[in-house]
Symmetry: C2
Subunit: 399 residues, 2 copies
């Protein structure tokens, strides 16, 4: 009998995909499903990016440099300088999405058996990338009732062992919408310095900070240049998830040199995606302003609707386009399934991501759901009507 | 002191990239370098593929299905049926190049410490993907003097231990140009069946088989459906290396199901590349015929030139677009460097890939070089003139 690997047996399905077959079944029955489960924005991709690809005059669709086109990296240096992040082109490796940046980062920094500390709830795919590197994710619980604030550093210390090689953050946070303060990051700085750990930060939602929040990047921390690795992506920033363009950024020469060897093994990042990504960097500030305004309106629709629903607890997001909510139900997992299999309101229902998929600690997040506000305002309002009525009708309601 | 991982320290630079700085230095001095070191074809990408991207009417550049667009996979089923390979769309996962297919395949099939048996010389990047999976490549030597024929199965048996989890082939071969016979593959079939091993075959050069050679795929082997994993790519097939589109194919449900979980973690393969790749499948047989004729002419230019050079041994390739040659020099590594740093003929020189980078056994391939015949016939002829004169002038010549 031929067998797959142990890591293959252990790897789990992404929580946002688990219920997909039920949603497809509902759609086949003619039900209109409002998809709030996945962070695929509906925002139009900037035309300047789409046109750059249309107008590209290629004869041979060649490999690019393994670190990505130099012209693209040069413009990225300029982009980051607007956020007071000083870089050189040699600090940047273009990857196939932020996903590949995380995977290569883990391969470069983690030995088999090493652990990465991540505040939970967290982006569940980090688990798969850690597993690919024969390492693992260890979580530090944060609570929806505390607006997902980081625990004090003394608590972090309790979770650190010989195996702890890195701390990883998503800032602004998926799934929480939480933005970490400069003060929180400065404390983590001291921690990673003290313990010789890497500090990974996934900052792909940088452009989506609301209510005058100013994003502070780990790259702005002084004195931990060798510890910090920035994961970035153009997927959400310019609504071009399909370009598959991300970046791995570090000022640690040995990290970049080694990451480049892994990058050379896989030859190069996608050429068309790079053309689109480079052109997108010319997008005007007005684009971000208008997209941000749109997300704020959507967030407010959700928050207003949720605040009227009895027994619902949520943390108002300051960034990204997700909201976690705790529902008065026996099990969010069962509730999310029931929404797809049983519930209908005017031929509609809503698809949510069960919250426990974003926690590793058993029992946490069992009543929580993640919603991505990536639909237009009308659809979101309808989705909230569905949710409100569903909470009243659900047989397993706890109120 | 913060440290990178052990695998990071061990990973080596691809042999085709090692001398790149020397080539760049030569170019800066105005030397015309004929690049035979890298398999980047100069063949124009089919216009039908480039136009499909130009004409794509996208508003939002979205994620695709994690296994790749269904329409693309449906057309791939049809493509493979022409080679008597019967598949369903569920057997196919579209990846970011053949590279990602190998990586995911290794992650799914190999445990840390496992070994993959590969006949050497071999495509050196397999080492990096194995290392990424905390596994390793173990090589079985084959010799240029024997036209790189596989050793008898009894020899394979000597290399198999408890750790051996898979055999991997590149067929037609990079760097050898060797095409394995049906008989050779049937013998390997019995071997992998006996030892419950996976059989990986990298068949990306399928369309480049010369002299009436008929490619026989591992997917045509009967009775080892659960063992066989096909790695494929459109990079060379349609001269679109920059599309970053490959495929992981298997009839083993558990392999595909697990591979899809890794594929879901990284979200999706590039959207533009898939559009180009799907359109390329409509390329007419005449395209391949004409490309094949061109490669045959190029191969013949190389073989004719090499056969006139005193002391040069080579194996005439039956497929792909590489040729290995053993040169009368003290060290091919030194010779390749010297070509870039010291040798000039009419302001020209030639860049070759040192052969030892394609062997793991210490001492093997020290006098060999790999040449990729990816330049036009005129350039190739000039490159051969350079090589012939260089072999006469090289201070470390052994003849």
């Amino acid at each position: 009998m031929i067998r797959i690997s142990e890591r293959g047996k252990e790897i789990t399905l992404s929580p946002i995909r688990k219920l997909a077959p039920l949603a497809e079944a509902a759609q086949r029955k003619g039900v209109h499903v409002h998809f709030l489960n996945i962070g695929q924005p509906d925002i139009p991709t900037p035309e300047i990016a789409l046109n750059a690809v249309k107008n590209a005059d290629l004869k041979v669709l060649e490999y690019s440099h393994s670190a990505g086109n130099l012209s693209f990296r040069t413009k990225l240096v300029e982009y980051y300088s607007k956020f007071s992040i000083g870089l050189s082109t040699e600090d940047i490796i273009i990857t196939s999405g932020g996903s590949e940046a995380i995977l290569i980062g883990f391969l470069v920094c983690l030995n088999p058996g090493d652990e990465v500390l991540v505040p939970e709830p967290f982006y569940a795919n980090y688990i798969s990338f850690a597993k690919a590197a024969s390492a693992s994710i260890k979580t530090i619980p944060t609570k929806i009732e505390d607006n997902f604030a980081l625990p004090p550093i003394s608590t972090f210390e309790n979770y650190i062992s010989d195996k702890t090689k890195a701390i990883m953050l998503c800032n602004p946070g998926n799934p929480t919408g939480k933005i970490y303060s400069r003060d929180e990051l400065e404390q983590l700085k001291n921690l990673v310095k003290k313990h010789d750990m890497f500090l990974f930060a996934d900052e792909v939602y940088r452009e989506f900070c609301y209510d005058q929040a100013i994003p502070f990047s780990v790259m702005q921390l002084e004195g931990v240049e060798d510890n910090v690795i920035l994961i970035d992506s153009i997927s959400k920033r310019y609504s071009m998830c399909g370009a598959r363009i991300g970046t791995l950024i570090s000022r640690n020469k040995s990290v970049i040199e080694t990451a480049l060897k892994f990058a050379q093994a896989r030859l190069s990042p996608p050429t068309y995606g790079q053309i689109a990504g480079e052109a997108a960097l010319d997008v005007k500030q007005e684009y971000f302003d208008s997209v941000k305004n749109e997300y704020i309106k959507r967030r407010d629709i959700l928050c207003e609707a949720l605040s009227k629903m009895k027994g619902v607890v949520f943390s108002k997001p300051s960034g990204a386009f997700y909201i976690m909510a705790k529902l008065p139900v026996d099990s969010a997992d069962k509730f999310c399934k029931w929404l797809l299999t049983d519930f209908r309101h005017n031929g509609e229902t809503v698809m949510l991501a069960p919250g426990n998929g974003f926690y590793s600690t058993p029992g946490m997040g069992e009543q929580e759901v993640r919603m991505a506000y990536v639909l237009n305002q009308t659809a979101l309002s309808k989705a909230m009507v569905c949710l409100e009525i569903a909470l009243e009708q659900y047989p397993g309601k706890t109120l």
